[in-house]
Every structure is written in structure tokens, then in C-alpha cells.
């Protein structure tokens, strides 16, 4: 007989476990089924510990909940989360037959169990305090050979999984050198594209860069903005033009107060209207 506390634990967990396992039968999405099975596994671990098998309880959490069910989740993510059941019956009457067999099996097993009389039971009162030690003694004493076989089985399974999910590469791998060679062979541009706003009045994304002659460079603006027609015409500073005509080098952009910024229509942005201090801060 068990203690009353264990009975309370059992009667709290067992109905929840059966309900969650029914989720496996009725859940439409595979992820929901997996989560309900994870719940069942954790509850089973609790029941193992209540059943005087603490080592198995911990191994249950580590192996089943931690490794196996997470592997299931990975595979579900790999094959697509919404891979739900097809409703077409390929075998005639399979659904009906499946329900019959399932319910029949339940009835047979339950009535069989009800007709068997179990004695009171001994319990692990002698060994529960040193449970992992006792298991180790049995496992490495009487069951050494099966343990070795299980080790071989695990290695074989790992190799099988590797070979089965291996994919042969059909095309040679394209490296960076191949890409660069192809660019040279086709006469494409070798350097990166110029960034927008270089030498222009502003360095916003939509302002094209200026080339050394002061003409806007189309390719510096993002292709998406150009396709949408959202790119701005390059802002040519009249000061620079004057200086260039006079044959002097223009000072760095951030040292000049841009006279046209306040009058330009782009300056209507809230940022610019609030702070009209220095262009240095506007650049930021």
C-alpha cells in the first residue's frame, strides 16, 4: 500500500496525463501533440520518483523530455510546422477499424488487469535510499553484456542517422574566388558600389553620391528606392560650385553652415525643424 500523499499525487497527475495523451490522438497540429507528450513525459518522471525510482525519474527527464522530445520538435520544425494529417482514406474503413481495435485493446487489457489479484507488494524500502548504487550494482554486475550491446547499438544508430541524412553534393561548391573570377570574365564592376550621400549635401539613404565632377551617381542609391521612385535628386551645394569655379579646394562638408538646408523642402522633417544649431549635429 502507498501513503495517502502518494495517492493524492497519483490522482492529481493520472487524469491530467491521460487527457494530455489524448491530445496526441486528437491534436490537429504536430507541435501541439508534441507538447502534450512532453507533459506526459514530465508527469511520468514525477511518478517514477514517487514509485521509489529516483534514478529513472531523472533519466526520464534528461533522456525523454530533454533529448528525444526536443529531437521531435527539431524534426517538426525541419519538415514544416503545419504538416497536418490528410483526410483522404487510402485504406477502406481504416479509421473505423482503428477505433475498434484501440477501444477493444483497452477493454481487454483493463478487464484482464481487473481479474488479476496482486498481493500487497513489498516496495523498495531496503534499497530506495541507495537507488542509483543498487541499480549500478545490478547493471554492471548481472547485465554487463547487454550494456555493451546497447553501447554498440547507440554507435550504430548514430552512424545510421549520419548516413541516412547525408546528401551528396551535385554541383561543385561556389567559392568567393569563383565569384570574383566570373565578375572579371563578364566585365562587371569589381569594387563595391558607392554608398549614398558621398560628397553630397546629406548622407541620407535616398541621396545619390556625387562623382568627382559633381554629377549624381545613380547606382549608389538602393535599387528598391530607385524602383519606387523615392530617390532624391542630388543636392549640389552652390558654395562648392563657386569654389570649384574659383579653382580652390572646397572645405570639408561638416565645417560649413549649409545655407540651403533651412529653405530646402527636405528640411521639413521634424528633426531638422527642432534643432537648427549646427550641421555637425544634423549629420548625426
Amino acid at each position: 500500500m502507498t501513503s495517502p500523499a502518494e495517492a493524492v499525487l497519483f490522482w492529481c497527475l493520472a487524469p491530467l496525463m491521460v487527457l494530455a495523451s489524448l491530445g496526441l490522438l486528437f491534436a490537429r497540429k504536430a507541435v501541439h501533440a508534441t507538447m502534450s507528450v512532453v507533459f506526459v513525459m514530465i508527469c511520468l518522471a514525477v511518478l517514477y520518483i514517487a514509485n521509489e525510482a529516483p534514478f529513472l525519474g531523472i533519466a526520464q527527464v534528461v533522456v525523454y523530455t530533454g533529448a528525444i522530445m526536443m529531437l521531435f520538435l527539431f524534426v517538426i520544425m525541419l519538415v514544416g510546422v503545419d504538416a497536418s494529417d490528410s483526410l483522404v482514406e487510402t485504406i477502406r474503413g481504416q479509421r473505423y477499424l482503428g477505433w475498434m481495435i484501440g477501444v477493444g485493446l483497452t477493454i481487454v487489457l483493463l478487464t484482464f488487469l481487473a481479474r488479476v489479484s496482486f498481493d500487497q507488494g513489498i516496495g523498495h524500502s531496503a534499497t530506495v535510499d541507495q537507488n542509483p548504487t543498487a541499480i549500478a550494482r545490478t547493471l554492471l554486475g548481472n547485465y554487463v553484456f547487454p550494456l555493451e550491446l546497447v553501447g554498440i547499438l547507440l554507435v550504430t544508430a548514430a552512424l545510421a542517422a549520419l548516413t541516412m541524412t547525408h546528401q551528396r553534393r551535385l554541383h561543385p561548391r561556389v567559392s568567393q574566388k569563383d565569384l570574383a573570377d566570373a565578375r572579371v570574365a563578364h566585365g562587371r564592376r569589381l569594387t563595391p558600389l558607392p554608398s549614398p550621400g558621398v560628397f553630397a549635401g546629406r548622407n541620407a539613404m535616398d541621396v545619390p553620391a556625387l562623382d568627382p565632377d559633381g554629377n549624381p551617381v545613380e547606382s549608389s542609391v538602393s535599387r528598391v528606392l530607385r524602383a519606387r521612385g523615392q530617390d532624391q535628386v542630388a543636392f549640389v551645394d552652390p558654395d562648392i560650385v563657386q569654389l570649384t569655379e574659383a579653382g580652390e579646394s572646397a572645405p570639408a562638408t561638416w565645417n560649413r553652415v549649409n545655407a540651403n538646408t533651412e529653405s530646402a523642402p527636405e528640411a521639413a522633417a521634424p528633426n531638422d525643424s527642432v534643432d537648427k544649431s549646427t550641421p555637425e549635429e544634423q549629420e548625426k
Partner: protein
């Protein structure tokens, strides 16, 4: 509470797992049904081990866990490779040998 209540729970879980194997079409869910059956058997092993005061039942449950881990690795690899070649995880669509 009798120890046999655990056995009733194990039987119920086993039957739900068996019904899942029979009724569901998604190979991954069918596989989880098999896992549930293995777990139910484990619960029965642990309960009998406690009933008889013998630790061997727990050792056997431990072996079941190990074999289940190996089985899951191979089974999921098969499911993934079938998905790669046929783009489906439904057990009904894999009928290459038919006709």
C-alpha cells in the same frame, strides 16, 4: 491506494499510444505514439519492480529508454530522408512499391 493503479494508468497510456499508431497519418505523430507505448511499458516495469521489491525492473526500464533513444534517432532520420525525397510526412503517401 493499491500499486495496481499505476498499472491501470500504464494500460491506458499504452492503449492511447496504440490507437495513435493505428489512426494518425502523420509519421511523426505515429512515432510519438510508439514512444508513448514504450513509456507506458516502462511505467509498468517500474511498478512491478516496486511490487516485488526487485531492482531488476528498473534496470530493464533503463534499457528500454536507451533502445528508445537509438530507435528515435534512426526513425527520425528515415522520416527526414523520406521528406527530402517525397516532400511528405504522411504514412499513406509512401507507396512506392505499390503497382
Amino acid at each position: 491506494m493499491e500499486y495496481s493503479n499505476y498499472l491501470y494508468l500504464a494500460v491506458l497510456l499504452f492503449c492511447v499510444g496504440a490507437a495513435t499508431v493505428l489512426l494518425r497519418r502523420n509519421a511523426i505523430i505515429v512515432f510519438m505514439g510508439i514512444e508513448l507505448m514504450l513509456n507506458a511499458a516502462n511505467l509498468a516495469f517500474v511498478t512491478f519492480s516496486r511490487m516485488h521489491g526487485d531492482i531488476t525492473g528498473q534496470v530493464v526500464a533503463f534499457f528500454v529508454m536507451t533502445v528508445a533513444a537509438a530507435e528515435v534517432v534512426v526513425g527520425l532520420a528515415i522520416i527526414v530522408s523520406i521528406y527530402r525525397s517525397r516532400r511528405t510526412v504522411s504514412v499513406d503517401d509512401v507507396s512506392l512499391l505499390k503497382n
